[in-house]
């Protein structure tokens, strides 16, 4: 089934016409009717637009399927942007969309573009009140009206201003995301993005080939919303990070530097470094002698990527799929969060076959196009960037140095001691809310209940007298791990109920989780509670945490296939001491 779906999608992409995408939609519908398992995640998406949106819906349905997302769609009646958004009983709200795409032309909303932007902002407000889903708002198309004239038109300046207002208004808004259509069209080129013919015949402004790109951009929003974003890029070395083969050509022989050939690999490495700075983890998977690769990483004057950027360096002669498993284990993330990059089509093919859950970047044959190809992917798209994101690559790379230390110290105790850890546990404040929501949405493995919360949900709990929300931070001699733990406790009369308890995997096994539970116990005792209640809810990914409450000496209560309830008596509770942790509160 997977093969035929891939064929349907690649045929449509090859032709890049509306006719071909319409055919693909038909075929995907037939396929899903006969086999429900074809597409992993389902999503309800509504489209509200001032023009004929049907073509974009067809392109988006197929591009979503290419990312294993099955779309159920709703199309608001033609030209009913305001009515659909303002009326709580409209078809839009009855549909209960997960994501709503609002795409309107400025001149259909108001005479002046800036007023159209304000109208969008007002519509978004109504949207917030009427549904809990995500709203994706596009900026207005702002093509030059007279490209060869010397003065920009009044209209164009107004549109630029209006777009700036939209970008600023919805920056970091958890409920509304900006899909920057104006920026996407300028990347593609307005002359290619717009089609006067389509406009004349179908009241739809876009060219068919641009609809492919716009659909992919919308899918980036869907992927972020569904948590399908990748975390780690795994790189081959020879002919991927530099030209030539280090084992044969040597340090002086490989192509890497400001001149030709070599420049193209520097540009590719720069794009990868940008991902690192956005929180993407870097790793190496190469068939080589390790000493050769380390020498390049440490000594080559034109390497943009250095040893300290990598969270795992797997250089040996093992099959590459085996190395991917090793890397996932070392970095402590799931295989389905990895992206594999290799110039060799045979290696890519075997990866696709052996580990289909890994995304593989189809590098072009010409290295001059490597950077462009990577930049046009959405594996690592993000809706917002936290301080944790910016430092994540560095934290994981420091983790690699920690495990080296672990291998060189004799006992676990010696290792923990040598880490010189400081753990801070404190009630969450306003500044922690974004990170806390992100933790509930992204943490899969050491997460006892896997309840996903939005920023407003968490703000509500932080402000409520009935809840205690804790965040945990951990520092050691290799660096600050940032906020890596979250607990949310509902304070009932005599018993405190632990609603959420999660920690980032990379800090598990260093006593911080024990100290976290101890802190909750002590606060509960101080507040006069006599016991704690906790639960473990099984998911596909959190087996790691299955016996955590048992280890903490909580007593098992009711239990079924999915959920186990626990109780813990606080009578005679004695606070614990942690030898290797310096605890701040």
């Amino acid at each position: 089934m997977k093969d035929s779906l891939d064929k349907i999608i690649s045929d449509a992409q090859q032709a890049s016409t509306w006719l071909a995408y319409r055919k693909a939609v038909r075929q995907i519908n037939e396929l899903s009717a006969s086999d429900k398992t074809t597409l992993k995640s389902g999503m309800k998406v509504a489209f509200v637009s001032s023009f004929t949106i049907d073509p974009l819906v067809d392109f988006t349905t197929v591009e979503a399927a290419a990312s294993s997302i099955g779309l159920g769609t709703y199309i608001a009646p033609f030209g009913q942007v305001s009515q659909e958004t303002l009326n709580p009983q409209s078809g839009l709200y009855v549909f209960i969309p997960d994501v709503t795409v609002l795409i309107a032309e400025a001149d259909k909303l108001a005479e002046k573009a800036i007023d159209a932007a304000d109208e969008i902002i007002a519509l978004a407000q109504s949207f917030r009140q009427n549904t809990s889903g995500l709203l994706v708002v596009t900026t207005f198309m702002a093509p030059p009206d007279w490209p060869l004239h010397l003065l920009p038109s009044e209209r164009q300046l107004e549109l630029d201003k209006a777009n700036q207002r939209l970008r600023e208004t919805f920056k970091d808004d958890p409920r509304v995301q900006i899909c920057d259509l104006a920026m996407l069209a300028s990347y593609y080129g307005y002359t290619h993005a717009l089609s006067p013919e389509m406009m004349a015949m179908a009241r739809m402004p876009f060219a068919e080939s641009f609809l492919v790109l716009l659909a992919k951009k919308l899918v980036s929003h869907f992927k972020v919303h569904a948590g399908l974003i990748r975390k780690c890029i795994v790189l081959d070395c020879d002919n991927t990070l530099w030209g030539g083969i280090i084992g044969e050509d040597g340090m002086d022989g490989i192509a890497l530097g400001p001149d030709c050939p070599g420049r193209e690999f520097v540009d590719f490495q720069k794009a990868i470094l940008e991902l690192y700075e956005q929180g993407v983890i870097l790793a190496i998977n190469s068939k080589n002698n390790e000493a050769d690769i380390l020498q390049v990483l440490r000594e080559h004057p034109h390497m943009v990527l250095k040893e300290e950027h990598f969270a795992a360096i797997c250089v040996n002669w093992n099959p590459k799929p085996d190395n991917m498993k090793t890397i996932a284990g070392q970095v402590n993330i799931g295989l389905d969060t990895l992206v594999f990059v290799d110039d060799n089509p045979a290696e890519r093919q075997i990866m696709n076959q052996m580990l289909p859950e890994i995304d593989v970047l189809e590098l072009p044959a010409n290295p001059a196009l490597y950077a462009k190809t990577l930049r046009e992917t959405n594996f690592f798209a993000k809706a917002s960037l936290t301080e944790e994101d910016k430092g994540r690559g560095q934290m994981y790379a420091a983790q690699r140095q920690r495990s080296r230390l672990q291998q060189s110290t004799a006992t676990l105790e010696d290792y923990l001691k040598s880490l010189e850890m400081t753990c801070s546990i404190r009630p969450a404040e306003e500044k922690d809310i974004k990170r806390a929501a992100q933790l509930t949405q992204r943490t899969n493995q050491f997460n006892l209940t896997t309840r996903r919360y939005t920023e407003p949900d968490i703000r509500h709990m932080v402000e409520s007298p009935d809840w205690e929300v804790y965040v945990l931070g951990l520092k050691d001699k290799f660096g600050d791990n940032g906020t890596v733990g979250l607990a949310m406790v509902e304070k009932q009369k005599d018993v405190w109920q632990i609603d959420t308890f999660l920690m980032s995997c990379r800090v598990i096994g260093r006593q911080a989780e024990d100290a976290f539970v101890d802190r909750i116990c002590r606060d509960a005792v101080t507040a006069g509670a006599t016991g704690l209640k906790a639960e473990y809810t099984k998911t596909q990914k959190n087996a790691l945490a299955a016996d955590f409450w048992d280890k903490m000496n909580f007593k098992k209560q009711a239990s079924d296939e999915k959920r186990t309830d626990y109780k813990f008596s606080l009578i005679d509770y004695g606070p614990k001491k942690f030898e290797y942790l310096n605890i701040e509160s």
Partner: protein, 72 residues
């Protein structure tokens, strides 16, 4: 591939038509609605390297007139 075969392929992709006949029209072919019509016109222009004005496009509602335009 003859013009007829090429056109038949396009109609097959668009509407699942197996055998193309001149009397087929927007009223008789299932799925040939106003949206599909625009998609069809765009593909005809691309495949046969021709331009079709909006005025002409609304007249091309049966296979016979499309063939006449293509000169077969």
């Amino acid at each position: 591939m003859t013009t007829h075969e090429k056109l038949e392929q396009i109609f097959h992709d668009a509407f699942g038509v197996e055998k193309l006949t001149d009397d087929m029209s927007i009223d008789t072919v299932e799925g040939w609605d106003s949206m599909a019509h625009v998609a069809l016109i765009m593909t005809l222009q691309k495949e046969f390297n021709i331009t079709i004005s909006p005025q002409k496009a609304i007249e091309l509602t049966d296979v016979a007139s499309i063939k006449q335009l293509l000169g077969t």
